[in-house]
Amino acid sequence: MKRRKFFTTASLATAGMLLPVGCNSWVAQRVNSASDRQRLVVVFLRGAVDGLNVVVPHQEAEYYESRPTIAVPYPQEQDGAIDLDGFFGLHPKLQDLMPLWNKKNLAFVHASGSPVPERSHFQAQDYIENGTPGVKNTPDGWMNRLLAELPPDRPTQALNVGVITPYILKGEMAIASLKPGINSAAPIPTDRPRVNKAFSSLYSGTDALSKAYQDGKKAREIVLADLNQEMILASRGAKSVNTFVDDAAEVAKLMVGNAKTQLAFMEIGGWDSHIDQNPAFDRLLPSLGEGLATLAQGLEAIFSDTVIVVISEFGRTVKENGNKGTDHGYGNAIWLLGGGIRGGNVYGDWQGLDQSVLYEGRDLPVTTDFRAIISPILQQHLAISNASLNRIFPDYQFTNKLYFLA
């Protein structure tokens, strides 16, 4: 009953929205017909995760030669990679994902990324998020443009948690945001009717501040209506100290509970491993693996209609650097999870690690444009038309070569 009230409030206030979950997660809602069950979750690993130690080319001699101290050992060895297909292996700390691989719900596209080489984190993240690599000043992010293209009843509002809206969600589609965490529903001064009334008349105009204030009030009403009990306490009360795992559980809950919730965005930082990469990975990967497995498990009921994309701004140098770490590189692996994925495969044009094929003699090249991975998901999975796709990824000619969707 309560949940129904929440969703009614949401749809009364808006035609659709991006909803916040946890610290760094956003989900998008829209009003749509019951048949639109498809979901897309994008998980951004900020700081450039070392894809070669996630999806390990254990049959490449150059891999072990380039990384004398940080390579993930052969599958049979202690702490070795978990073999995937006889050639690639998964980092052992991601073992939580193996059931998904075995069920053919997990795939990777190796040597993928932005077609425009860029070793600046910030510039590279911008290119992945604005969906226009090489073009810096695109005003909006591709997920926001996607929100605008989702048929047939356009969502008119979006909502996120976290005070800073990520570039990928910026744009025309309104974004309302909420403070993350367990205190979302704790009383704030502007909840008091008199204070509310006074500020509402102060911000009753059409200027940017007024608009933001009004959007904030709407979002606040939704939180106060229901989100506190049902959505937050339920999973936040769990004992996990890991925010990503908690957030993943909440995202799943929202997406399963409501047919309008179609898009979600989550992010995790801390991957810029210039020094002592292995201890950092041992710390970070288990929570990422557990979080993704939690997400998949939570979405079980609709997993056949779900695609989860895990992406990072670029990969890291093939050679380890002088501090048991890796420096900024180029190609990386993009992860794909979901019931509709032809999983159990490592896709992509793998050209080996011989120095002659490496980008600038040092980095994994990008042989698959990240847009070639997102586009079929938008087209086939979210039923986005060619015209719409051209607006989401302008100046990009998409030809499908991968066929990773069932």
Binding site: T69, R119, S120, H121, F122, Q123, L159, G162, V163, I164, T165, I175, A176, S177, L178, K179, I188, P189, T190, R194, V195, A198, F199, S201, L202, Y203, G205, D207, A208, L209, A212, Y213, Q214, D215, G216, K217, K218, A219, R220, G269, D272, H274, I275, N321, G322, N323, G325, D327, H328, E360
Partner: protein, 495 residues
Amino acid sequence: MRQKLSNWTIIMFLSLILWAGLIESTKASNELPQSSQRHILERLSFGVTSAQINQVKEIGIEAYIQSQLSPQLVSESAIVNDYLAKFSSIHQEPIELQKQDLALRKELRNSQLSIKQKKKIRREIRKLNAQARDEAMDAHLVRAIYSDRQLQEVMVDFWFNHFNVDAAKGSVELWLNDYENKIRTHALGNFRDLLLATAKHPAMLIYLDNKKNTDPNSPIGKKRQLGLNENYARELMELHTLGVDGGYTQDDVIALARIFTGWGMDAHGKKGDRQGFFYYKNRHDQEDKMFLGQKILANGMKEGEQAIDILVRHPATAHFISYKLAQYFVADQPPTSLVDKLSQEFSETNGNIKLVLDTLIHSDEFNSPQYYKQKFKTPYQYVISLVRMGEIEQPNLKRIRGMLEQLSMPLYMCLAPTGYRNTQEAWLNPQAMLQRTSLATAIANGTLNRSYLIEQKQLNSNFGELSSNTKQVVAKSPRKLRSALIMGSPESMYR
């Protein structure tokens, strides 16, 4: 004849007086209008106070600007000095803090210890670090709020974000106060000195990993299997000097990383000058290098200084720093004409920050009314400005820290080396508006100082001319809410 002459002298004398008087009145009428003076005060400080208004009335706006450009001539406020005296960790040499921390960690590795003993040591480590961090934060806040050298503190905010370090990495927090003081020393000085001070500072050496950057073929590199680390070299060019489009290549990144091999940290204070920096010759790459098209002859630590000279003199650096200054002080999209003017001044003066700022403050662009009240305050600028404009005494500093955290701008905790941004696009969103109006209400109701009531009259003069809409809403709202509304008004969110 004599009579005539003396008459003439009298006439001359009288007209001289008259003329002088005219000058006097011309000067008065040339004095900038109130709105322009206010604009200058708002951009050169963290919020207008009655003391500032009085000072400008007394000495004139130009004298005020000049005094702010020479902070060493302004005596520090007694409030600041009293506060600072109370923070014990900032009076200790940071190398001593670092040594204490290392000694505790060494003790912790002693396997003979019981779990309880280890717990106790861990608590001590946490306490040492937390105290250093919290006192550095409070010292920072006190200066931002009460210092009479406001422009200097504004520039500390600007440069700290430009040369950002994250308190959460390694033992950066032990070095925060010292790092910020180094920035403060050069905030209006010479850009090269500032850049060199950050390059050698442990906070930066830790944060961007240069303390580990080692030539793999050097004696230490071979012995300990260490090698190059590009992190600092890249950000030094991308974020500190040339900018991402500054025209450098990956080869330049590697060359610069090689140049900076051996620029490391002396955490035990045994070598060198106890500032935490040490140049390790036995880690340095002894070959010649090509950097930005120039041959750098093998010359030990001097190579790094030479590279810094090249970077400081590079036109891309002049442009990048000028753009950022113009964006911070004038508009999110700064006028190109101003950026060009500042770049030229930066180049001609070899990075004299004071002169560049002088040019900026006196430029037509900065003084154009179209830019008044157009900069949306960052959460930090907003909170500090409320405390200043509300003239709140003895504010609860811990609570201010908490507010900054709530507003997603915790002090010293920006994870990315870009530092916090200062544009409206970065900070204006629905959640922020709810938080800001709520915080304004809480502050007006005394959350930062229970016994201190904010005077409506004070607010009216410090916040300047309010829009007719704000005035109307304030007038028809209950008396109790009026201060909250002024503090949470659009006028208070822009500077």
